[in-house]
C-alpha cells in the first residue's frame, strides 16, 4: 500500500519536474538567433550617390538618403559597409568627397557640417551653427577648399571657413538674408556664392545674387545681381566650375534662342551671348525654344578641369542629348560638343566618380550614361564617341517598383556599373553583359506607413490537392478532409522506416524560394508564397509605403512574395493604410482580399483592391480615385453579402464630414444600414485642433441607397464635441487596433475576491499640449463623448525629437512622454529638476474600486456608463524609446509582453507583471504577496536577456506590430521604421511545445528499454512468486 502510494507521488513529481524544466527557459539561445528571427538593415532611398576611390584603387559608394542616413556601400554586393544615422529631424542636404574624407551638410536653420573618414565611417570633425533669424529657407552649401583641409560652408545665414577640429570658424561672414544661397564655387583665392535673391517691393523681379568673398579674410570683394529669371537648379540654367578658367553661369532666357554666359566676378560686360548652333549644327531656332540644360556631375568641383553640361532638345519627334564641354582657345571661351546621342525617355548622368586628386580625370571618368526608363530598362555608356562603349539591359517590370527616376555611373576595376533608382525605392547596380542586376537593395520599406498580417492557409496535403482537382465535394466537410489527411499520414508512416525514421535532415523550417537563387529571381519572385505552416509562424506581412509600393514578405524569412507599385497618372499613390478585407478558406477559389487606401498627388482618396496572395490588382477599374479626400479610414463591423468583403469607412474632414464606404455598392450600403447599432466615429487628432468631435452615421431611406456610387456618402450627424480646456492643443490620439480578446474578465486578488476589468472598445486616448506648459491626457468614450479619466503631466513635453507614444490593450493603457523634471509634492517654480528622462505611465481601468463589484447589465452601453476606477503608476524608462507595442496571442491566456523599440537599436520585451500599477510601494501585505505582486521599483530594467533583437542594431523602429500564431504561447513580433526585424516570442515560456533539445530518439529508446525490462523481469517475478507460494 505504502509502495503504490509513493509511486503515484513519484510519477506526479516527475511530471512536475519535466514541466518545471520548460518554465525556467528565459532569454534567447545563441542557436536561435537568426533562425527564429530575421533582420534587414536599411538606409532609405539615396538622394545623392558618389563613388569614392581610395588610395588602393578600391571603390566605395557613399550615399546620403531621404531617411537621413549617410552610408557606405560595397560596390560588389551593395552591402552596407557602415552607416551613420542622423537625427530624424535633421535632413542631409549635400555630400562631397575628397580623397579619404567625406563632407556632409545637414539640418535647416540650425546647420551641421561634418567631415567623415570615408573608410571607417568615423566622424573626423564637425561644426554646428546655431539658428539665425535671417535664415532663408533652402539656403546652404558646402565645399572643400583646394590645397587645404579647410571647408567652406553656407550655414544658417552665414558663410564660414572651417579648419579641422574647429571650436569656432576661421572667419564668419553674415549674409543678412539677402538671398537663398544654394551654390558655392571655390577658386584658388576667392569663392563665389550664388543664390536666388529675396524678392522685395523695390526689386520684385527674380534674379541671381552673387557674392565674391576672399578666402583668406572672409571679406566681401564685390556683390551684384545677375538679371536672369532663371533660378538655380532650373532646367534652363547651369553653373560651371573650372579650376583653370573660373566659374560660369550659363542660361537661356524664356522665349530666347541664345545662351547667356556670365563669368563669375565679371560685371563688365555682365554676360556674353553664345549660339548653340555652333555646338550642334542641326539645331534650329525653334528647337532651342524647348531645349533644356542639365548638369552632369554630382560633385563638379572635383573633376571639372573642363566643365560640362548637357543640352537636350527635340527634333522631328526625337529627343537628342548633346554633352557640351567648356574649353578655352586663345584665351577665348569655347563650347565644344563631346558626344551626341538619342535620349528618348532617358535619364542622363555623368560618372559621379570621385577620383584621387593625383590621378586626374581619365576618359572613363568623363563618361556619360543614358538610361532608358520606358519599356525595358536599357542603358548605354558614352565616352567621346557616338557609339556607346558599354551597354546593357535589365529585365525589370515597372509594375513592381515603379519607373526609374535616377541613375549614376561608377567604375569597378575599369568596368562600368550603372546604379539605377526607381520611384518606389529600388536601388540596383547593373553591369554590361547581364540582364540581371549585380546587386539590388529594396529600400521601399523604409517608407512603410502601415502593415498587416495575412494568415496563410495551412499546408494542404497532396491528397487534398488531388481531391480538389478530381472531386472538390470531399473538401466541403471537415470530416472527409480529416479522413483524407489520415490516409495521407498512414501512407507517409509506411514510408517512414525507409527515410531512416526521420533522423536525417527533416528541414521543416525552410520555405519554398528561400534557398539560393539568382538576383533576378530575388528581384522578381516567380512563385508567391501561398502556403503557411502548421504553427502559423509563416504568414505574409503586407506593407504599404508612401512611395506607392505594396509588398508582401514572409514573416519567417523576410523573402519577398510579391511587390506592386501603385501609381495614378504616372505619380506614386501615397499608401496610408492596408486592410485584409476578406480571408479565404483553405483550398477555396475566392482569394483573400487586400484593400489599400491612400492618396494621389492632388490629395484625393485612392482605393485599390488586390489579391492578397499574389498581389494582382482586382476589378476592372484597377485604381479607384475617389472624388473626396479622407481624414480617417477604419474597419466597419459588417460585410457585403455577395462578395463577403469587409466594409471600410472613409471619413472626410471639414465642418460637415461625410462618411463614404468601400466597397461603394448599394449592397454594401444596405449592409451598413442593417447594422444593429449606429456607427460612431471621431476624426482623431487633427493638426492644431483644440477639440475632438464625435459623429454618428445616419442612414437614409432604402430607396436612396440605390444606386450607390463611388461619390456617395452618408451624412453623419455630430453627436458630441469634446472641448479641451482653454488654450490646449490636441497632439495625438490613440485607440484600440483590431479586435480585442480577453481571457479573464477580472483579476483575482490575494483574498480570492475579484476586481473586474473595465473594457471599453470605444475608448480613445488623447494627449494635448497645455497653455501653461505640460501635457494633458484624456480618456474619452467615442460613442457618448464622455470624459472617463484625465491626468496632467505638468513638466512633460512632447516634440518631434521627444515623441508621445501610446498603446492600448485590454483594460490597460501605456504611454510614454519626456519628463523635464518630476516635481514631488508642492515643488516651487524655478526649483532644480529632481531628474529628467522618459516616463512610462500605466493606467489600468477597473469597473469599481471595490472587489467583487461589477456592472450586472447584460448589454454594454456607452450612454449609461459608470466611470472606471483607474489606477495609475509611472516608471522611468531605461532608454529613450521610439515605438511601443504589446504582444498578442490567440486567446490572450498567455500574459502580454510590452515591447519597446529603443533608440539605441534594441527591441526590448518586458513582462506584463512589471507594468502592474498595483505593485505595492510599501512592503507587500500578505494578500499582495499571495497575489504575486512585485514590490514597486521606480525604473524599468533593461535586461539584455529580454532584448529580442539581440546583437542586431535595429535602427529607427517606428512601429511594432504583433500577431498571434496557432500556438497560444507564441506571438509574432514585427518592427519596422528604418530597419526591419521580425521574430517570435513566448512571454510565458513555450509551455505548449517540446523544447528543441527534447530527444525523440531518447524517448523511443527509453520506452523500448522499459518494454524489454518488463518482458525480462515478468517471468523472473512470476517465478519468485511461485517459489514463495511453495515455501
Amino acid at each position: 500500500m505504502l509502495g503504490s502510494h509513493s509511486l503515484t507521488h513519484a510519477a506526479l513529481a516527475a511530471v512536475l519536474a519535466v514541466s518545471s524544466f520548460s518554465m525556467t527557459v528565459q532569454g534567447l539561445f545563441p542557436d536561435e538567433a537568426g533562425r527564429i528571427d530575421w533582420y534587414r538593415a536599411q538606409i532609405g532611398v539615396p538622394k545623392s550617390i558618389v563613388a569614392h576611390t581610395q588610395e588602393d584603387r578600391s571603390t566605395n559608394i557613399l550615399t546620403i538618403t531621404d531617411r537621413n542616413v549617410l552610408a557606405s556601400l560595397n560596390p560588389d554586393n551593395g552591402e552596407i559597409a557602415w552607416r551613420q544615422l542622423f537625427s530624424p529631424t535633421e535632413r542631409i542636404n549635400a555630400l562631397k568627397v575628397r580623397g579619404s574624407l567625406a563632407l556632409t551638410h545637414s539640418g535647416g536653420n540650425e546647420t551641421h557640417v561634418r567631415v567623415w573618414d570615408a573608410q571607417s565611417g568615423a566622424l573626423a570633425w564637425g561644426y554646428s551653427q546655431p539658428p539665425s533669424p535671417n535664415y532663408q529657407a533652402d539656403s546652404g552649401a558646402v565645399e572643400f577648399l583646394r590645397k587645404s583641409q579647410d571647408v567652406l560652408a553656407i550655414v544658417g545665414d552665414s558663410l564660414v571657413r572651417l579648419a579641422p577640429n574647429p571650436s569656432k570658424p576661421v572667419w564668419e561672414l553674415a549674409l543678412n538674408g539677402t538671398a537663398s544661397y544654394k551654390r558655392l564655387v571655390v577658386q584658388d583665392n576667392v569663392a563665389f556664392i550664388i543664390g536666388d535673391a529675396v524678392l522685395s517691393k523695390k526689386q520684385p523681379k527674380a534674379r541671381l545674387h552673387v557674392v565674391e568673398v576672399s578666402l583668406k579674410t572672409g571679406r566681401v570683394k564685390q556683390q551684384y545681381d545677375v538679371n536672369t529669371e532663371r533660378s538655380l537648379g532650373s532646367s534652363s540654367s547651369v553653373v560651371l566650375e573650372s579650376k583653370e578658367y573660373g566659374g560660369y553661369i550659363l542660361w537661356r532666357d524664356d522665349k530666347n534662342i541664345v545662351w547667356n554666359i556670365h563669368r563669375l566676378g565679371m560685371q563688365e560686360p555682365m554676360w556674353d551671348i553664345y549660339h548653340a548652333k555652333l555646338v550642334q549644327s542641326e539645331l534650329m531656332p525653334v528647337d532651342m525654344l524647348t531645349s533644356t540644360l542639365g548638369e552632369l556631375d554630382a560633385d563638379p568641383g572635383l573633376i571639372a578641369d573642363k566643365p560640362r553640361f548637357t543640352l537636350t532638345y527635340t527634333k522631328d519627334n526625337k529627343v537628342k542629348t548633346v554633352v557640351v564641354e567648356m574649353t578655352h582657345a586663345n584665351d577665348k571661351l569655347e563650347l565644344r560638343k563631346v558626344v551626341g546621342f538619342r535620349s528618348d525617355n532617358a535619364i542622363i548622368a555623368g560618372s559621379g566618380g570621385a577620383t584621387l586628386p593625383s590621378s586626374g580625370a581619365s576618359q572613363t571618368e568623363r563618361a556619360v550614361v543614358a538610361v532608358r526608363t520606358s519599356g525595358a530598362v536599357s542603358w548605354r555608356v558614352y565616352g567621346s564617341n557616338k557609339t556607346p562603349t558599354h551597354s546593357g539591359e535589365l529585365a525589370y517590370d515597372a509594375a513592381t517598383y515603379g519607373p526609374v527616376t535616377a541613375a549614376s555611373l561608377y567604375y569597378v576595376g575599369g568596368d562600368p556599373r550603372v546604379l539605377i533608382q526607381t520611384s518606389g525605392g529600388l536601388v540596383a547596380a547593373l553591369a554590361p553583359g547581364s540582364n540581371a542586376p549585380v546587386w539590388f537593395r529594396d529600400e521601399s520599406l523604409t517608407h512603410a506607413t502601415d502593415m498587416t498580417f495575412l494568415e496563410l492557409p495551412a499546408p494542404a496535403s497532396s491528397a487534398e490537392h488531388a481531391a480538389k482537382a478530381t472531386d472538390p465535394s470531399v473538401l466541403a466537410s471537415p470530416v472527409t478532409r480529416y479522413v483524407l489527411r489520415w490516409v495521407e499520414t498512414a501512407k507517409s508512416l509506411a514510408a517512414w522506416p525507409a527515410s531512416g525514421f526521420g533522423l536525417f535532415g527533416s528541414s521543416s523550417d525552410t520555405e519554398p524560394g528561400s534557398g539560393s537563387q539568382s538576383t533576378l529571381e530575388a528581384l522578381v519572385p516567380t512563385a508567391p508564397l501561398t502556403e503557411g505552416d502548421h504553427f502559423g509562424f509563416r504568414k505574409l506581412s503586407i506593407f504599404g509605403t508612401s512611395t506607392g509600393v505594396v509588398a508582401a514578405l514572409s514573416t519567417q524569412s523576410g523573402a519577398r512574395s510579391w511587390t506592386r507599385y501603385l501609381a495614378d497618372n504616372g505619380t506614386a499613390v501615397t499608401v496610408e493604410r492596408v486592410f485584409i478585407t476578406r480571408r479565404s478558406q483553405p483550398l477555396a477559389n475566392t482569394p483573400s482580399l487586400l484593400t489599400v487606401v491612400g492618396r494621389n498627388t492632388y490629395g484625393n482618396s485612392v482605393v485599390v483592391v488586390l489579391d492578397a496572395l499574389t498581389g494582382e490588382i482586382l476589378g476592372d477599374g484597377g485604381i479607384h480615385v475617389l472624388p473626396f479626400n479622407h481624414v480617417k479610414v477604419f474597419e466597419l463591423p459588417t460585410t457585403e453579402k455577395t462578395t463577403e468583403q469587409q466594409l471600410l469607412g472613409l471619413a472626410t474632414g471639414g465642418s460637415e464630414p461625410r462618411l463614404a464606404i468601400w466597397p461603394a455598392t448599394a449592397e454594401a450600403a444596405k449592409a451598413f444600414c442593417a447594422l444593429p447599432e449606429s456607427v460612431f466615429f471621431d476624426l482623431g487628432a487633427l493638426a492644431g485642433s483644440s477639440q475632438l468631435r464625435g459623429y454618428r452615421a445616419e442612414c437614409p431611406t432604402e430607396a436612396e441607397l440605390d444606386p450607390w456610387k463611388e461619390s456617395s456618402a452618408f451624412l453623419p450627424s455630430r453627436s458630441w464635441v469634446f472641448d479641451l480646456p482653454e488654450g490646449e492643443v490636441l497632439l495625438a490620439s490613440s485607440e484600440y487596433h483590431g479586435a480585442q480578446t480577453t481571457a479573464l474578465l477580472g483579476r483575482v486578488l490575494g483574498d480570492r475576491s475579484v476586481l473586474y476589468k473595465y473594457i471599453n472598445p470605444h475608448l480613445v486616448t488623447l494627449a494635448s499640449r497645455r497653455a501653461a506648459g505640460g501635457i494633458g491626457i484624456y480618456f474619452v468614450d467615442r460613442v457618448s463623448g464622455r470624459l472617463l479619466y484625465s491626468a496632467v503631466h505638468e513638466s512633460a513635453s512632447v516634440s518631434d525629437k521627444q515623441p508621445f507614444l501610446a498603446t492600448q490593450s485590454e483594460n490597460r493603457i501605456i504611454y510614454q512622454l519626456w519628463q523635464d523634471s518630476t516635481p514631488v509634492g508642492g515643488s516651487t517654480e524655478g526649483a532644480q529638476p529632481r531628474s529628467k528622462g522618459y516616463v512610462t505611465v500605466v493606467a489600468e481601468m477597473f469597473e469599481s474600486d471595490k472587489p467583487d463589484t461589477r456592472d450586472e447589465s447584460k448589454a454594454f452601453s456607452s450612454f449609461d456608463l459608470k466611470l472606471p476606477h483607474v489606477i495609475t503608476t509611472a516608471f522611468m524608462a531605461p532608454e529613450p524609446a521610439t515605438a511601443l507595442g504589446v504582444t498578442r496571442t490567440g486567446s490572450q491566456i498567455t500574459t502580454r509582453d510590452v515591447l519597446f523599440g529603443l533608440s539605441s537599436g534594441k527591441l526590448l520585451s518586458l513582462p506584463d507583471q512589471l507594468f502592474d500599477p498595483r505593485r505595492p510601494k510599501k512592503s507587500p501585505t500578505k494578500d499582495e504577496q499571495a497575489e504575486g505582486l512585485m514590490p514597486y521599483m521606480p525604473s524599468l530594467p533593461l535586461d539584455p536577456k529580454r532584448v529580442l533583437s539581440h546583437a542586431n542594431v535595429v535602427a529607427g523602429i517606428a512601429h511594432i506590430k504583433s500577431a498571434p500564431t496557432h500556438l497560444e504561447s507564441t506571438s509574432l513580433v514585427a518592427s519596422y521604421g528604418l530597419d526591419l526585424f521580425f521574430t517570435r516570442t513566448s512571454p510565458s515560456g513555450t509551455f505548449d511545445q517540446l523544447s528543441p533539445s527534447f530527444s525523440k530518439v531518447n524517448l523511443v529508446v527509453t520506452t523500448l528499454a522499459l518494454v524489454v525490462g518488463c518482458l525480462l523481469g515478468g517471468p523472473m517475478v512470476r517465478r519468485k512468486l511461485t517459489n514463495q507460494a511453495w515455501a
Partner: protein
C-alpha cells in the same frame, strides 16, 4: 571593458535629453554636443552593445564680478553620474571635465543552452523528492526485514495503543 573605442564610432551615439541633441563619436572616442541650452540635461550613450552610465550635466553661466549673469559669458559645467529612477542629487561627486565616460558592461543577450547533465537533473528539488520516495519504497522494507521481530511487534503495538 571596451578596449577599441573606434568600433563605437558607427555603433553608438551620444543622446542628450532623450533626443533633443545628438552627437556622433569620433574615431578616438571623443565627442562634442553643440548648442546645448543652459540648465540641466541628461546625457546618455546610445549603444547597442555596451552599457554606459547616465550623466546629469548642469550648465550654468559663471558669475561675473558684479554678480550678474551675462549673455555669452563663459559657462561652467558640472557633470554627475545618475541612476535612472532616483532623484538627481547635488551631493554626488562632480566628474572631471572634459568628461571621460567608460563602458560599465557589455550586454550579453544570450542564455547558454544547458546540455544534459546528471548532476543538474538530480539537483532538481523534484528529482530529490523522487529519490527520497524511491529510497522509502526500496530501503524501508529492507530495514523492516532486518529489524528484530520483537522490536517490530513492540513498535506496532505502541502505535496501536
Amino acid at each position: 571593458m571596451l578596449s577599441d573605442v573606434s568600433q563605437l564610432a558607427t555603433r553608438a551615439q551620444v543622446v542628450l535629453n532623450g533626443g533633443e541633441h545628438r552627437a556622433f563619436i569620433q574615431k578616438d572616442g571623443t565627442f562634442a554636443v553643440d548648442n546645448v541650452k543652459l540648465g540641466d540635461s541628461l546625457l546618455e550613450i546610445a549603444s547597442s552593445d555596451y552599457v554606459f552610465p547616465k550623466i546629469h550635466v548642469r550648465i550654468s553661466l559663471k558669475e561675473t564680478g558684479e554678480g550678474k549673469e551675462e549673455e555669452g559669458g563663459r559657462a561652467s559645467i558640472a557633470a554627475r553620474y545618475v541612476q535612472i529612477g532616483s532623484e538627481w542629487s547635488d551631493d554626488a561627486p562632480v566628474l572631471a571635465y572634459p568628461l571621460r565616460i567608460s563602458a560599465s558592461d557589455k550586454y550579453d543577450f544570450f542564455t547558454e543552452r544547458q546540455g544534459f547533465s546528471i548532476i543538474a537533473m538530480f539537483s532538481n528539488p523534484y528529482m530529490m523528492m523522487v529519490g527520497a520516495s524511491l529510497l522509502a519504497v526500496f530501503i524501508l522494507p529492507k530495514l523492516q526485514a532486518n529489524m528484530d521481530p520483537e522490536a517490530l511487534k513492540e513498535l506496532q503495538g505502541g502505535t496501536k495503543e
